[in-house]
């Protein structure tokens, strides 16, 4: 097993200390920081995403894996310049106004980050105006919205319209329990059923 494979496997297993040790050893041995990120840490999270989508891994394990990946990132990111960091695009994401559910949305954030997106997480109960402001400020490629309630889901259409009225040129993604592909299509957004699918679809549309 190569050092990258070991890092990747430790991420999948959620072994934070092992990830840190392996990366420190790899750096001592002169391995390239960018490769550690792409072939080690992100590769590990990609496997986690696939396993999660197939119900072979579960939320607590995904959280452990993500924590391990971030511990590794903290070591290697300072060693490379911003331009070397693989960036597929910027996603501004939040749970819509009146809705406090964030587990699913946070999983999407993790999957997008591990897929190589820069993610601006607006948290829960996010007003339309904040989506517009942050999408503009960060020059968002994708605006992503989450809702757990049918009643709050209705805000998504308004948010998309407000972004368009403000001249923001972005793609729109939606997800959450009450969402259906038909509803998403009606409001000109892209629907994903789970966090791994969301990352895959984001890559497709970017």
């Amino acid at each position: 097993m190569s050092t990258y494979e070991r890092i990747s496997q430790f991420v999948v297993d959620g072994k934070e200390d092992d990830v840190i040790n392996e990366i420190n050893n790899a750096l001592k041995a002169g391995e390239d920081a960018t490769n550690i990120i792409n072939k080690g840490l992100l590769e590990g999270m990609a496997i986690v995403g696939e396993k999660f989508a197939k119900s072979e891994m579960f939320v607590p394990e995904v959280l452990m894996a993500s924590r391990s990946m971030n511990a590794g990132m903290d070591i290697v990111k300072p060693l490379i310049s911003d331009s070397e960091i693989h960036n597929l695009g910027t996603v501004v994401i939040g749970t819509v106004k009146g809705d406090l559910h964030d587990i699913g949305k946070n999983l999407v954030v993790m999957m997008l980050e591990s897929a190589g997106f820069k993610v601006v997480n607006l948290g829960v109960d996010t007003a339309k105006e904040e989506f517009v402001e942050k999408a503009k400020e960060n020059n968002a490629d994708i605006v992503a919205m989450s809702a757990m309630l049918t009643t709050t889901m209705a805000h998504m259409e308004d948010i998309i319209k407000a972004c368009q009225d403000a001249g923001i040129e972005a793609k729109y993604m939606v997800g959450g329990a009450p969402l259906t592909p038909a509803y998403a299509e009606r409001i000109n957004a892209i629907y994903s059923a789970d966090a791994s699918t969301a990352a895959l679809k984001a890559k497709e549309i970017i």
Binding site: F58, V59, P60, T151, M153, P178
Partner: protein, 267 residues
């Protein structure tokens, strides 16, 4: 145990379809099924984008055409809850208030001098409080408001809001601690929970939900939003109450068995 039957909710796809098509039989069937399973209230949640009050009226009419079990009006909109009260033949339960926005001010004055009961969630404009102390602050604020509107503690069903175990290992422990503190302060208040949130993100969720029920009953929970036709859940509720000495001579447990509530129906 006060059982709030959860099977008529527009967030369930087959129910959403029945609502959209105004399919009376599906709603009536689910109402009858839950009444037969001894539900104390039948929860009624439209979960629609538009015409919520009109939809609630239609749903309540269907439920009341087959049973006189009181309705639990369920909406995130306090105004919709209040507007649906006149459709009910008898006082029921409002689901729910919290310290968010003007929910309390919208609902409490309307039910002040009635027999209506009310679910109260322990969250406020800042969301679900992280610490037990903050959650108890919200609880005390709600109890103060209830007193102001002459709503006795026995008409309130406090939902301490269980969080998800898969993202918080202390989810159950915090819930239990809240229950203890609530019970100590107000022996007559009801404590309720939607409970299935506890098991989100984990496989074989029933093995989390069922033990949760036992531990919560032990902590003083006496009301729950569940599927009353779930014989495993019903069995665990009646069994736990018998074990905890809140079912004299185990009569409720025996009666539940005799009524067929604990045995799976052949479909």
């Amino acid at each position: 145990m006060i059982i709030i039957g959860e099977k008529i909710n527009g967030s369930i796809p087959v129910v959403a379809k029945a609502i959209a098509e105004r399919d009376e039989s599906l709603i009536r069937e689910r109402a009858k099924m839950q009444a037969d399973a001894n539900a104390t209230y039948i929860d009624c949640c439209a979960s629609v984008e538009k015409n919520e009050v009109e939809t609630l009226k239609w749903m309540i009419d269907q439920i009341q055409s087959v049973t006189d079990v009181p309705i639990c009006i369920d909406s995130p909109s306090a105004q919709a809850c209040v507007d649906a009260i006149p459709f009910c033949n008898k006082p029921g339960l409002i689901n729910s208030v919290s310290m968010e926005g003007n929910k309390v001010e919208t609902i409490f004055p309307v039910i002040a001098d009635t027999e209506w009961e009310c679910v109260a969630l322990l969250c406020d404009d800042e969301g679900i409080p992280k610490s037990i102390e903050r959650r108890m602050d919200v609880f005390n604020n709600i109890m103060e408001k209830a007193k102001e509107y002459r709503i006795a503690p026995s008409r309130l069903h406090i939902d301490p809001l269980v969080v998800t175990l898969s993202t918080d290992e202390e989810a159950l422990l915090s819930f239990v601690e809240c229950c203890h503190q609530i019970r100590k302060a107000y022996p007559d208040v009801h404590i309720t929970s939607g409970l299935s949130n506890i098991s989100f993100g984990l496989p074989m969720r029933k093995y989390i939900n069922l033990p949760f029920m036992v531990l919560a009953i032990n902590a003083g929970m006496d009301s729950a939003i569940v599927d009353p036709t779930n014989t495993d859940m019903l069995g665990v509720i009646y069994g736990a109450e018998a074990l905890l000495g809140i079912d004299e001579y185990c009569l409720n447990y025996i009666e539940a068995y005799r009524d067929g509530l604990l045995t799976k129906k052949e479909l």
